[in-house]
Amino acid sequence: MTDLSRRGSLVIIDTDRTLKRGVFYVIEARLRTMMHWIFSLLTGSLLNPFFYLASLGIGVGTFINQRAGSAGIDGVKYIIFLAPALLSAVAIQDFMGEVVFPTLQGFKWEKTFFAMNATPLTGRQIALGTYFSSLIRTIGSVVIYFAVLVGFGAVDPARAWPSMVTSLYAAACFGAFMLGAAAHAENDDLFLNLMGRLLIMPLFLFSGTFYPISSMPLPLQWLGWASPLWHATELGRWVSYGHHLSGSMIAIHFGYLAIFLVTGLLWAFNRFDYRLSK
């Protein structure tokens, strides 16, 4: 056994450079971690849209198209109506999963954030690194999903490609909020239960994903209006096939989602700093 070679951290570390690049180092580490299950990530990203489009888009779609006749749903075939909503839903869900689980792992399960905070990294850099690595992963999911939608004829790629941008925008906004929420959660079991039962399911079911929310009773429509997925879906339908939106509604959709982005990031910064220095 040989002794360690040693020049000392004062010589080998460029402190100023390191302090500036903390977010980048966290992103690099997260992406390297994701590479360990890249196969299951890719398989999931491909199979998920395939099953949804085959069962809902084609199966349920055929039935609905027959009933709706030439008027269609919102003036288009059901699968075209459905596609932007599914794209937004998968973007939001993937982003949410990518910020929530690493954050719970970091603070509760393996306490890896405390190991990271023993290096020059700050709480804010760890939060932002987690956030941006989730964004990169979600870009991958959205692009694959969009490609499958094109394969099924659910979107016209030349026209509908901006729906990838609106989906990612919504995911990035709501993901910031979930980053703050996960960093706040002291009781991980309770948090995951609440997230699964009171957030993901209603988000998916009452946001106009499968039918226009105007067809729901008014009290349930409120749920849809509050849901970030509905705002994302409206924007996605607008850019994909020309779903009518007034200028003010477009501003409201973007603005409403932006509130999640700003409050979520501020909440996350606060909680990361607090929990790492408690």
């Binding site: 360690l4 890896t112 023993a118 290096t119 220095s277």
Partner: protein, 309 residues
């Protein structure tokens, strides 16, 4: 400069509401020395370590680490520290190599440097054959060695170890001690908290004995024993009922005694002679043991309590 003080604390205090975890302590750690915090659980050792590690803000007092104040220059200070926490916080799903790699990158070290350093650290920690194993498959001792290797990837100026051998078997402890000796020989400043007196004696040049957030004494292990205990100790057992009955008589025969629930400790420079005098007085203990004084005796003297209760 071997006498350079890397850490200087004056009146350092940490409070949580009404509870004072660290109470106005003063100390200084010199470059290249191995400095230990000795005390029972709840003494304030880990809190002090976290303040030094620039991950916990103090309530009052002053502290300077590498000439900087952790309150406003925490990340700069942390760039030159290696931290081994009480509980391993490795990424369980990653391999041994990946844990070292990503940690090295957090310090901004170039990829090429990190890769070559990993080979060296794996050999140092005797984990070369486990380089591609996932952390979750390692034994407790291996995880501990990996955590230490991880803390060394940035060649820190100060290596901080919080209870480094808790939960390890004797063989794993000795391997770790050997590695820490080697680091000390290379001039790495070591900061160690422990409640094991043998570990403190083995590893530390200087010790700060803490209890209830305060410093009880500070010196080298040998000088602490010299100051606060006798050369030898005689441990006698008369049975739990008789221990207290004979204690008054025993008190007159030596410098000091401590009556513990299961045994009596008698302090004298020549414990063999003391044992003979006990026998001559027709006090026949059920068992007797002559040993040299240890830091446990120092702690008992200073606090009136045993280190491990």
């Amino acid at each position: 400069m071997q006498n350079e003080e890397l850490i200087v604390a004056k009146g350092l205090t940490k409070k949580y509401g009404d509870f004072t975890a660290v109470n106005e302590i003063d100390f200084a750690v010199r470059k290249g020395e191995s400095f230990g915090f000795l005390g029972p659980n709840g003494a304030g050792k880990s809190t002090t370590m976290r303040i030094i590690a620039a991950t916990l803000t103090r309530t009052s007092g002053q502290i300077s680490i590498l000439g900087k104040d952790p309150a406003d220059r925490g990340p700069e200070i942390r760039a030159h520290l290696g931290v081994v926490p009480q509980q391993d916080n490795l990424d369980q799903a990653l391999t041994v190599t990946d844990n070292l790699y990503i940690y090295g990158r957090y310090f901004g070290l170039p990829r090429k440097f990190v890769k070559s350093k990993i080979d060296e650290l794996l050999e140092f920690a005797q984990l070369t054959d486990k380089r591609n194993a996932k952390v979750e498959s390692l034994s407790g001792g291996m995880k501990r060695r990996l955590t230490i290797a991880r803390a060394l990837i940035s060649e820190p100026e100060i290596l901080m170890l919080d209870e480094p051998t808790t939960g390890l078997d004797p063989q794993a402890r000795h391997i770790l001690w050997d590695r820490l000796f080697r680091l000390k020989e290379q001039g790495v400043t070591l900061l160690i908290t422990t409640h094991y007196m043998d570990e403190a004696e083995q590893l530390c040049d200087r010790l700060m004995v803490m209890d209830k957030g305060s410093i009880m004494a500070e010196d080298s292990p040998a000088d602490l024993i010299k100051k606060f205990s006798t050369k030898e100790v005689l441990e006698v057992r008369f049975g739990s009922d008789r221990n207290s009955q004979v204690s008054d008589q025993l008190k007159t025969m030596c410098e000091r005694i401590e009556v513990l629930p299961d045994r009596i400790l008698m302090y004298a420079d020549d414990a063999e002679l003391l044992l003979e005098s006990i026998h001559r007085a027709s006090l026949h203990p059920l068992t007797s043991l002559v040993r040299r004084s240890s830091l446990e005796d120092v702690f008992l003297r200073l606090t009136g309590r045993s280190l491990i209760e």
